[in-house]
């Protein structure tokens, strides 16, 4: 019998530092992850407050499946810091067990396929209004003019929030989630904190106002008037948390996927045609694009006495961090993992919406948004390229993204009056 090795020895023997906030491009970062997957699939990174890093599909899916049975989802941050500056667990993403289930039971019917389907005509009209804004120009700033406002407007409609606030909220959400470019780290941190304060102030004011106003047929009224946890209506803190996390999740993720997809499709123009070759082609193509662009990086913490990840036995309290992109590009399940291949045979399901109890509650909405966006963009912009003089740039972090996606295409006609 051998005694359990000392934790610091274990960490040292698997040490290979990892920076989730590296300034590398997504492609370069994925190349680093591919190398780690091959050489040290599970490793310990001492960067920041330290965490383990998992890189294979099997290890990542297995950790996610063990949520509630060996792992907990608090804290979400690999450094165990809280980007929203809160001391409590974030609702619902850092909750587990029975309390988490109660929040899921509130949210799931609101985002089920049945609840989402009636939104389709309005989403399609919104997509076309946004395309009308740039179609005659023959060029667009895709993130600012489509990838951000399209899911953003959807979210504002579902929530029942004033559309005029969308751009401001999106800017604040982006600053909170990925920070702000500033001359010094101190200024960047100050700007991020300032965005948190502003966003918090806006949301607290909205909750106060909506509590006083007559109920409306939107998600905010439903959460205020009807939703219950432990037999009680939600208090301001619970509402604040729930709404804030839905706002951040709803704005940032679909935007990232859409922007990354257009960059991939610009590099593979034949795929933009192939997606629509046949009505049966589009859905698998969207799944393949989701595999390539799943933007989130998650963290789970060992909650049993120990838990095995790959070949390593981790003691209680150790955090395991993993970008979903690492699982989605595992060559064990996806030959030529970096290539968009729309007719992969029985592909492993991608993990872009996560897995287990915390699976993305907005996944049905996200997939309808993507389908409508691609259908309308393809109908009106059958060919496009990236502006060679103004290339995109990526950011990593806990939600990866691509900005500055400038598209050029043969101009088209507006379909609605200005």
């Amino acid at each position: 019998m051998t005694s359990a090795p000392d934790l610091s020895e274990l960490r040292d023997s698997y040490r290979r530092d990892y920076d989730p906030y590296s300034t590398a491009s997504i492609a370069d970062h994925l190349a680093e992850l591919a190398e780690r997957r091959q050489k040290c699939p599970v490793s310990y990174s001492a960067r920041g407050n330290g965490c383990w890093v998992a890189t294979t599909y099997d290890d990542i899916s297995s950790v996610l499946r063990r949520n509630n049975s060996g792992f907990v989802s608090y804290p979400l941050d690999p450094d165990a810091a809280n980007p929203q500056g809160k001391k409590d667990k974030m609702i619902p993403i850092e909750l587990d067990g029975a309390l988490h289930r109660q929040y899921r039971e509130i949210l799931e019917p609101l985002f089920s396929p049945k609840a989402i389907r009636p939104l389709e005509p309005e989403l399609r009209a919104a997509a076309n209004r946004m395309i009308d804004g740039f179609i005659e120009r023959g060029r667009c700033d895709f993130v600012r003019e489509f990838a951000m406002p399209f899911p953003g407007a959807t979210m504002m409609t579902i929530m029942g929030w004033p559309m005029a606030d969308l751009e401001m909220l999106s800017g604040l959400a982006s600053a909170v989630l990925h920070g702000v470019v500033a001359p010094t780290p101190e200024e960047a941190m100050a700007a991020r904190l300032d965005a948190q304060v502003q966003l918090g102030g806006w949301l607290h004011a909205l909750i106060a106002e909506r509590r006083e106003a007559p109920p409306r047929n939107d998600l905010t009224s439903h959460l205020i008037d009807e939703a219950q946890v432990d037999g009680q209506n939600l208090d301001n803190d619970q509402l604040f948390d729930l709404l804030l996390n839905m706002l951040l999740a709803g704005l940032d993720t679909v935007q990232s996927v859409l922007a990354q997809c257009m960059v991939i499709l610009a590099a593979h123009p034949e795929k933009w045609t192939e997606m629509f070759a046949d009505p049966a082609t589009l859905k698998p193509a969207i799944q393949e694009l989701l595999r390539l662009t799943g933007p989130t990086a998650l963290t789970r913490t060992v909650d049993d006495e120990s838990a095995v990840v790959g070949e390593v036995t981790l003691p209680k309290g150790e955090r395991v961090h993993f970008p979903i992109g690492a699982a989605n590009r595992d060559p064990a399940y996806y030959p030529n993992p970096d290539e968009p291949v729309f007719d992969r045979e029985h592909p492993k399901p991608h993990l872009s919406f996560g897995l287990g109890p915390h699976r993305c509650v907005g996944s049905h909405l996200a997939q309808i948004e993507l389908q409508i966006a691609f259908e309308e963009l393809h109908r009106r912009i059958p060919t496009f390229a990236l502006d060679p003089d103004n290339p995109p740039h990526d950011h990593l972090g806990l939600v990866w993204g691509t900005e500055n996606v400038h598209l050029v295409f043969p101009p088209g006609q507006r379909e609605t009056a200005e």
Partner: protein, 72 residues
């Protein structure tokens, strides 16, 4: 009368988290409940075997199993 084995489709509700891929892949065999979780339909046994296999292998939670059984 035929005695060939027919598929028995089992969806483990304790594993399902509502990805919704089963009813997108094999809409005859699965349908969504009010929360978006999959439910096996009465027509599941008559569904094309390849479609059932695709739904089972495509379930991210590995919640779907299909076994062939001879009719009693």
């Amino acid at each position: 009368m035929t005695t060939s084995p027919s598929p028995v489709v089992v969806l483990d509700r304790s594993l399902c988290t509502g990805h919704g891929l089963c009813y997108a892949t094999a809409p005859e065999a699965f349908e969504p409940d009010d929360r978006g979780y999959g439910v096996v339909t009465a027509r599941a046994a008559e569904t094309d075997a390849a479609e059932l296999d695709a739904a089972a292998s495509g379930c991210p939670e590995q919640a779907i199993t299909i076994r062939m059984e001879n009719p009693a």
